[in-house]
Amino acid sequence: MNPVPTDDGPGAQGATPVLSARSVVQRYGATLALDGVDLEVRSGEVLGLVGANGAGKSTLTAVLAGLLAPTEGRVEIDGSAVTLGTPAAAAAHGIALVPQHVETALVPELSVAENLVLDRIARGELGALPSRRRIRAEARAIAGDELLERAGIRLDARAGSLRTAQAQQLLIRRALHRGARVLILDEPTAALSVTEQRELHAQVRRLAADGTAVVYITHHLAEFVGLADRVVALREGRVVDEFSAPIEPARLVSAILGPIEHLPEERPVREAGDAVLSLRGLRVRADAPAVDLDLRRGEVLGITGLLGAGKTELLRQVVGAEPLVDGSMTLDGAAFAPKHPADAIARGLGFVPEDRRRDAELPEWDLVRNTTLAELRPHRRLGLLSARSERAATAALIRSLSIVAAGPRALLSSLSGGNRQKVVVARWLAAGSRVLVLDEPFRGVDLGARADIGALIRSSAVEAAIVASSDPEEILEVADRIIVLADGAVAGEFRPDELDEASLAELLVASTAKDPA
């Protein structure tokens, strides 16, 4: 492996772009996912693509891979405009996508061999009734004896039994066999071991040396060191920066996050009291380092970290949504070992999950029923629920949280994202939660609602709160103390008034390197 290419290497500037996006705009309803993106992919280069959640990475990938026809702008192959729109059209032009979840690209019940030639069977190229022998022979030609032997893949095995790395190798091989000139790898290392990752990197470099263009997407920024010739950073649907090898991960972080303004408005940083909630020796994964944390009375503790840092894994253990991997907790000085979210709720914890739609909302229920769900007992009169009591409690919360809705009986689905999030927070106030744990509470939430929720978290209605976000700016708005999480480890701690952008960037990538080459 001879990773770092020089500037006149195969991916050098000036080569004809094999694939390019020109002023690509993509709208979903009122949302602008891509706002005029220009991007060139050249033969023989490894192009990194980075960006935070919602920056437009996935959308751009989908446009390039032909899964999505852009609202405006065009995609060019070898300098001439093409209409992709379907994966088949993209494949015909030599563009192949290996998705992050490789299992979605395979039919698990079919054999490995059948999966490799599925497209040819579908096109009828192997005849109406292809024999097993024929399928095996074709599949062997695609995969190659060397790969089958080295990776220990049996052609007769069910595709569903493949490990991620094996499936990935087969998909890459299938794409190349179909004549792919542009290979898009979406988070290819997310499920790979360190060794498998090292092998993939070497393979990617070899492919590039042979003239294939590789678009490589990962949130482990350190992977780009020695791998990528160029890295393009997206933010809010635009290309905001471009870096050439040698890549410095800390500079990528700054580009992804954008300029951080110091404390948006002056507000007091509160000095906290004794510990309310203490975590000792928790781990985000079995192989991750131990995490010790204290949440103190009267503070908002911010946790920030890049995607994959382990924020969600940590918080879900704290609130009893997942079993503890390791370690122990105390709440108000007493042992705290929730086996079910109900245990955490009974002790005064409220959890606002990352994926609101999936984990918190009952969209076809009205605000009243969404708000009172976590604690219905106070609304019982003679064994039955009192509609009046539920409604009164909800109406009060609608007022105090400034929820914009037609009324307490409006359906949750009729509200905007920000107001729905307020309803989820209101659920915990209605349940009498003293300690709130919020995972990405500001995602898809407008600035007004964000400010309202922030003010509420900092109000006396809440004894203490943990707010996790991959956007440090959101954390700066509400937190009294900030913990930086990197690859499951506490990488550092800040007070918001002493935050400095450069050192934050250093901390965020501190240990994202699985393989610093």
């Binding site: 709720i345 769900l373 037609a406």
Partner: protein, 334 residues
Amino acid sequence: MTTTSLADRLRDGVYRSGLLVLLAALIVYFAVTLPAFGTPRNAVIILQSVAITAIIAMGVTISLTVGGFDLSVGSNVSFVVMLTTAAQVYYEAPPVLAVLIGLAAGALIGLLNGLLVVVARVPDLLATLGTMFVFAGLALVLTAGQSVSSGSIVGGEPAPGRITEPFAWLGRGVVLGLPVPVVVMIVLGVVVTVMLSRSRLGRLLAAVGGNADAARLAGVHVGRIRITAYVLSGTLASVGGVLLAARLGRGDVGVGGSYLLETVAAALIGFAVLGANRPNGFGTLVGAVFVGVLLNGLTMLNVPYYTQDLIKGAILVGALVMSFSALFKRKDAS
């Protein structure tokens, strides 16, 4: 929704009250054209014809509320019919004990369904399809495939016991001028409807059916709630089984089988009542009565009996279209 055009309101009206209006229109039409239809006596006959179906359908409604589906109710009825009659005829069980055995069996079938779904993680439809077979089979095994009646021959000897009068009263007795099954239907109908719409348990059942992940994170013990739903469903089916055994006065093999489709139809027709578009107790009662009224009237009009299933099926499909078709969907306020 601040401004609504006349067409919108009309559509909304059809959507919300369509089935009730249709039911009223049917009753008026039959009453006008058929002198024998609009009598109190016939009203009681109709209610009696749907009482057992409606009771079992309340259980199906509960299983639908948690997002499940109880296909085993028909076999449950068959099994309970054989169990209660065999207990009395073969083993001389007193009627109260026979009833308790029947209800306990129903609850246990429900518990088994719940455990299969929650602990063994078998999908609802498949789990209850399996137990449907098992209990249809057990109902046969119980009496070696024989029907049970007073004076049945067992091993060459006449069976020692018989179906007693107090037991038969459950099926044939009259309280306040109404047959006992109708009274039970009304009582259980009200209880289940209130439970589903006004009690904490009902709210949690609906939460699990609406979004199980969200319910769990809000502290709902999703597994326990789903098991509870199946136990209630099984118990209500066994109430139907006890009443059926009492009304027949004997244990006929496979007599419960037809109740599966009947009760599922009633519960699904109930989706369309008052625009609920989800399982609801009142709707299920209306669904059962709707089918009863229609069949009663058509029979009086000399429509042959063998067309009944076709008619029930057509009503079900129509009601489902009304519930699910975008045509009648209320638009989201925006």
